[in-house]
Structure formats: C-alpha cells, structure tokens
Symmetry: C2
Subunit: 182 residues, 2 copies
C-alpha cells in the first residue's frame, strides 16, 4: 500500500483517479479500437496524459483492462436481459394474440368516433355514486357516456388465465459467451 503524500498543494490519495481530460482521451483511444495497449503504447499514452495530471503506466494498463472487461460485462447483461424479455414477450404474445387480432379486425374505425362502454354488470355496491356522466376525452371533440365506476367493478372479476413465465432456467445459468474485440 502506498502512503499518503503531499506533493505541494496536490493531495495524493492512495489510488489514481483520472481527470476529466484524461478520461476523455482514454475513452477516445478505446473507441478508436485500442483494447490491450502494448507496452510502448502505454508509455506513449502515459506520457501524453501526464500533462493533465498525475498518472503512471500501470494506471493506463489497468484502465484498459477494467474498461474492456466491464464493457463486455455490460454487453452480456444487456443481451441476457433482452433475451429474457424476448422470451417473455413471445409467451405473452401468444397469450394476447387474440386481442391483437381482434383489434386488427376493427382497424377501419376512427378513434374519435363516439364510443360507449357498455356497462352491463354493474356492481351492486355504491349504486349511489355510479352515475353515468359525460367525459371529455382530452383535446378530441368527442364526448362519450362512460360509467364512473367502470373500473372498480371490472377489476373484481378475473376471467383470464396466465401462463407460468419465469420457470425456465436452471440454477447454473451463466452469462452468455461473447466474442471480444469490438
């Protein structure tokens, strides 16, 4: 472990932390394709970055190591997430395909036609407050009769069935392999 030293007015903490400029340049180099710089590359970079603040070769070395690793890690996780999502969505798509098709069948109608929500099964409670009333749907000049209590009564009955999602993976699931060197 390094000791804390005072170099003039600058505080030397135990570990290097890049100045914004250094970071910018490092990232630029990374974007330009450098992943595991050679010794002399590290040397050049270090010399260049010295202008912006204290830095040494191993800092550069470590920075590229870590950045590359965490980049891949991030990518892997992203892909995994997307995969899970896709699987989920596929299942749900199956589950809701009927709804989609139903809606597609009615594609000809316009949204701003006056529409009424048929509220046939009114809940018995709260009959006093369940008055049909005029709703102005935003900026559209379309008014509809909607029952105020539509939602609450609608929520009490659950006619649909769900598939079990997430049972998929074994416990040993690891992140997907990923080919390196972007």
């Amino acid at each position: 472990m390094l000791l804390q030293k005072e170099h003039g007015h600058e505080t030397c903490s135990s570990r290097w932390s890049p100045t914004p400029e250094q970071l910018m340049i490092l990232e630029e180099l990374y974007r330009s394709g450098i992943r595991t710089p050679s010794a002399s590359q590290i040397q050049h970079i270090t010399t260049h970055l010295c202008f912006y603040g204290r830095i040494e070769g191993k800092n550069v070395f470590y920075w590229f190591q870590n950045h590359k690793a965490r980049d891949r890690q991030k990518l892997r996780r992203k892909l995994n997430k997307q995969l899970q999502l896709q699987q989920l969505q596929q299942q749900q798509q199956q589950q809701h395909q009927m709804l989609v098709h139903q809606c597609q069948g009615e594609a000809g109608e316009t949204s701003s036609e006056t529409w009424k929500i048929a509220q046939n099964q009114q809940s018995e409670v709260d009959k006093t407050t369940s008055t049909s009333s005029l709703y102005n749907y935003g900026m559209m000049n379309c008014w509809s009769f909607v029952d105020v209590n539509e939602a609450s009564s609608c929520c009490t009955s659950r006619p649909l069935k769900t598939l079990d999602l997430f049972p998929t993976a074994s416990s040993k699931l690891r992140e997907d392999p990923l080919n390196l060197e972007l």
Copy 2:
C-alpha cells in the same frame, strides 16, 4: 387523498398508472401498429387489461395518444443528441489524433510484453523512498522495473524512454470462451 388497496400491484391513487403487465400489452399493441385505436378497439383492450388491474377506456385512449407523441419526441431528441455528440467527438478527435495514430502504429505488440519505464531524471525530494522495485502488473507474469516515484517525477520532467527488453512477435487473436453468472 389516496386510498391504499392490497390487490398486488393495485393501489388506488388519484390517477391510473399501468401495471407492468398492462404496459407490456399496450406496448405490444403499439408495436403491432396500433396508434389511434378506435372506440371498439379501446373497448376490447380495456376489457382485456382489466384483468391486470384497474383501468378504464380513457386510460387506454390517453396512453396511445401520449405514447405516440412521446415516441416521436424521443426520436427527435435522440437524433439531435447524436448529432451534437458526433460534432463534439469530431473536435476531440482532431485534438488527440496524433496520439491515436501513434498508438495505432504500435498495434502489433502485445500488452504484456515486458516494458520498462526509464526514469532518468529522478526528483530530488523523497530520495529515501524512491527505490526502483519490481512490480507485478496484475495477473500477467511479467515483471518490470518501475520506479516507485515515477508519477511524481513524470509530471515534472517530460522526456521518457522505453526499453523493450525482448520484443516477442506473438500477437494473435483468440476465440473468447467466457462464461459467467447472471
């Protein structure tokens, strides 16, 4: 005033907020091309989504309205941002192009070649602690002589030299195996 209810996700607050399932289905419908659903489409969707939580027609109507608008907005902003970023990056690239090119010229070497930082101009202060010592650069079994005080003196005196001890010619790309937890 908010009434709290325990229906899983459902809390009855003053305004509707979609459950994850509802949101997923709405987005699925959106992706499937629906932008301004007709009255009966809204009716169907609402009925369907009621299963997952309190919802009414106007919520569906508004959701599509908002989603469409914000989608467009997001796209616009994204494009603008990308443009600005590109311009910034171009400027920065100009600024550090030389360094990048320098590094590109040395692309053949491997990172873990033994490399030495010649530290000729030793700073006068702290002579006691400024001992050259062996550094193990992480997991690489490559040891280099590096001066402990490299950094402090590096910033005061610019010209540095690399002494590549044995330039091996073994840079080869390799398949990435890698596996990892979730």
